[in-house]
């Protein structure tokens, strides 16, 4: 942190960046959700048309997109639990910073597991 800063711009720390991350991931997930309900609705129209749409999800490029989406979901989920602890746990505000590091560690572990499995299927022979 710069001590000479005299501007009026608020430059927050972990708390602000987790808030930014929560908003951005939330919007991304919501936009995908709208699309995902529409593509799933094709099962009611034509089985072949649904399979055609799903086959676009099975391409390597889309698999990277899905991996990014799951990264967003995992962060939003774990940081959401942290938010609940900040709101409801007596010591929540005191340990919010430590909990963010916990969120990030958990996020890396779970995301690595997902990415290895999902990408090896998507880029694999089947």
């Amino acid at each position: 942190m710069s001590k000479t800063s005299s501007g009026t711009l608020y430059r927050g720390h972990e708390g602000m960046w987790s808030w930014v991350g929560h908003r951005v991931t939330g919007v991304v997930i919501f936009l995908y959700l709208l699309v995902h309900v529409l593509d799933t609705a094709m099962v009611r129209v034509d089985a072949g048309a649904y399979d055609a749409i799903i086959s676009t999800y099975q391409t390597p490029w889309m698999a990277l997109g899905e991996t990014g989406l799951v990264a967003a979901i995992l962060f939003h989920a774990f940081n959401g639990l942290r938010l609940i602890l900040v709101d409801f746990w007596k010591q929540g505000t005191k340990y919010q910073r430590q909990m963010l590091w916990g969120v990030l560690i958990l996020w890396v572990i779970v995301f690595a597991g997902f990415a290895i499995r999902h990408l090896s299927i998507a880029f694999g022979s089947h």
């Binding site: 919007v27 309900v37 529409l38 799933t40 099962v43 009611r44 089985a47 989920a77 938010l83 499995r117």
Partner: protein, 147 residues
């Protein structure tokens, strides 16, 4: 020596700034509570959804019309997906509503953006619910053996 501190010149932060109607009931508090409760449930629903669709079996390579028909043959997965649809849409809509309230400053802009949001939300929830409730494994183009 006493120092006289001038009285603050501004009586209010901004005289043009007016708060909305005083009482909005407990809606905002209920919305806040809903985000936390639905959030916890959504973690279970979405993690289960991702695990059963992408992590086990053939993962994404195994998804297709037959996969969906197999899942929705079970009332558990029908209920699971219906609950996920409603909770995720309401949770996401309330989140986007908050963001619109934060960034859209003009009243008309806020009203329009939220109007579009609510129309989209109702459309997606109704469409998704109909798809789950009226699912037909023998729809046009189905190659399932029972058809």
């Amino acid at each position: 020596m006493s120092v006289s501190i001038p009285a603050p010149r501004s009586q209010r932060i901004d005289p043009k700034y007016k708060r909305g109607p005083k009482s909005r009931g407990s809606f905002e508090m209920l919305a806040w509570l809903f985000m936390r409760l639905s959030g916890v449930v959504l973690i279970i629903l979405i993690f289960g959804h991702l695990f059963s669709n992408l992590m086990v079996g053939e993962g994404i390579s195994g998804i297709g019309f037959g996969f969906v028909a197999g899942k929705w043959a079970s009332p558990l997965w029908q209920f699971w997906d219906l609950a996920m649809l409603w909770l995720a849409m309401l949770h996401g809509t309330n989140g986007v509503r908050t963001i619109i309230n934060d960034y859209a400053e003009k009243h008309a802009t806020r009203a329009w953006l939220k109007g579009i949001l609510y129309v989209a939300t109702i459309f997606i929830i109704v469409l998704g619910s109909l798809v789950i409730f009226t699912f037909d494994p023998c729809v046009t183009g189905s190659t399932l053996p029972q058809c």
